[in-house]
């Protein structure tokens, strides 16, 4: 049976993890590779690296990181942040990334989704969508949720699927940072109206939030950052709890 996936997300700036992490047993908690290895050993199903650097050397630094992760980590990983061309993606995949995630660049140039899926296959194209409700309507936002657009979340998600996206990473800006649970109503609607996997993001605080997003939100995967980085939730414990609630998860032997 296909299992629900648990995906820690690491924010990266200039090749280092950004948000503070609480891993006392790590030699270097700022090293994304060290952290990634720990997560892989603790049962993470995939990893996402989100690059937020804005320097001239960002591309080279990111490629170096992707190579090091691919060398040392034996589970799949996605790279996102500032990716805007077929050439960017070619370099990242050749360096060992399994998937790339595009966000603002897809809104600005939707044809990029078609081009990427035609050249590399839809399985490696994740389209990230940040949205929040304005007057009861879910509207797509750009630049980490700062800039609103006229795009309706559900219309955009369907267009993204038709253009060849293999997965959608939906972050609810209303839920992000609240630790109050995922946006399960919107997630369930996405999951029902679309026929590609949906990754839930934004709002994880407790173990039961994950149970809820898989049951009520019909999500295929759930992504979180700080609850894992600060060890508020251990992935092993989370998966046991999910299994006890009748949700199919991979528990490594």
């Amino acid at each position: 049976m296909l299992t629900k996936r648990i995906i820690p997300c690491l924010d990266i700036k200039n090749g280092r993890t950004v948000k503070g992490v609480n891993f006392v047993d790590l030699r270097d908690a700022g090293d994304p590779v060290e952290l990634a290895k720990i997560y892989a050993e603790n049962g993470a199903d995939e990893l996402v690296f989100l690059d937020i650097s804005a320097t001239e050397e960002r591309r080279k630094t990111l490629i170096d990181l992707v190579l090091r992760v691919a060398e040392q980590v034996n589970i799949p990983f996605t790279v996102g942040g500032g990716i805007s061309s077929v050439e960017d993606v070619d370099l990242l995949l050749k360096s060992g990334a399994d998937k790339v995630s595009i966000n603002s660049s897809a809104v600005k140039n939707p044809q990029l989704i078609n081009d990427l899926s035609a050249k590399f296959g839809s399985q490696c194209v994740v389209v990230a969508i940040d949205a929040k409700q304005i007057n009861g309507q879910w509207k797509v936002h750009l630049v980490g949720g700062k800039v609103p657009t006229e795009l309706d979340l559900f219309d955009w998600a369907k267009e993204v699927e038709q253009r060849g996206a293999g997965e959608i990473l939906f972050t609810s800006m209303d839920n992000d940072g609240t630790k109050d649970g995922f946006a399960n109503e919107a997630l369930a609607r996405l999951s029902t109206e679309l026929n590609i996997p949906i990754i839930a993001s934004g709002g994880a605080g407790k173990i039961n939030h994950f149970t809820d997003t898989f049951k009520d939100g019909k999500a295929d995967a759930a992504l979180a950052a700080s609850v894992f980085h600060f060890k508020e939730i251990e992935i092993n414990d989370l998966k046991k709890e999910l299994r006890d609630n009748g949700i199919a998860v991979r528990i490594p032997s």
Binding site: E71, K94, A97
Partner: protein
């Protein structure tokens, strides 16, 4: 051991190279037929779309070379699918090593299947020491139905072949290079396979 990964411009082969390096082997990446013929083990990877991958194989003559290889060959993901008779993807004629036709999952399930699924009904030394219902990582929209050459099955919409074997040719739909320690064990087993005369 002398291992060659066929490099024909189809997808993420770095990950396969790194997976072997983690078990202490440094494979060679090449499309040179002479080097491939002499290798003790051959890995035939593939990610992407079937018909364009097949065109790349034909352009280098690898489509005639691969079926003639006599050492153990492991096709991974699209590599395994290209070793079948044909694929619904791009209506592509395959290498005809495995006697089965590759089909697309229906829209009753989400396509592609992405994630960790179990493998069962394990046969052959490729799965030595691997438990029934072990989890492996899969990403695919097309599948090989069950057939006489099935050596592992998985379930998504229906039971299908997550691994195939005919003589010296093996194929896995899952990605051993991305399937944690269980996947690593499959790669180690592939290296240990006895070469048949």
């Amino acid at each position: 051991m002398n291992i060659t990964i066929i490099d024909y411009g189809a997808g993420n082969i770095q990950s396969i190279k790194f997976a072997f390096q983690r078990i202490g082997i440094d494979p060679q990446l090449t499309d040179d037929p002479e080097i491939i013929k002499k290798a003790e083990r051959v890995i035939f990877p593939g990610v992407g779309e079937a018909s364009s991958a097949m065109r790349k194989l034909k352009a280098t003559g690898l489509d005639t070379l691969i079926p003639k290889l006599t050492q153990p060959v492991l096709g991974i993901c699209l590599g395994m699918q290209l070793m079948c008779n044909k694929s619904e993807e791009g209506n592509t004629k395959g290498l005809g090593i495995f006697d089965v036709d590759v089909k697309r999952f229906s829209n009753k399930v989400k396509v592609p299947q992405i994630g960790w699924n179990q493998i069962s009904n394990l046969k052959t030394d490729l799965f030595e020491g691997i438990s029934e219902e072990e989890y492996m990582y899969l990403v695919h929209s097309y599948y090989a139905p069950l057939c006489a050459e099935t050596i592992a099955t998985s379930h998504y919409e229906l039971d299908y072949s997550s691994a195939l074997r005919k003589n010296n040719f093996y194929g896995t739909q899952f990605h051993p290079e991305k399937s944690s320690l269980a996947g690593q064990k499959v790669l180690e087993n592939f290296l240990k396979l006895k070469v048949q005369g």
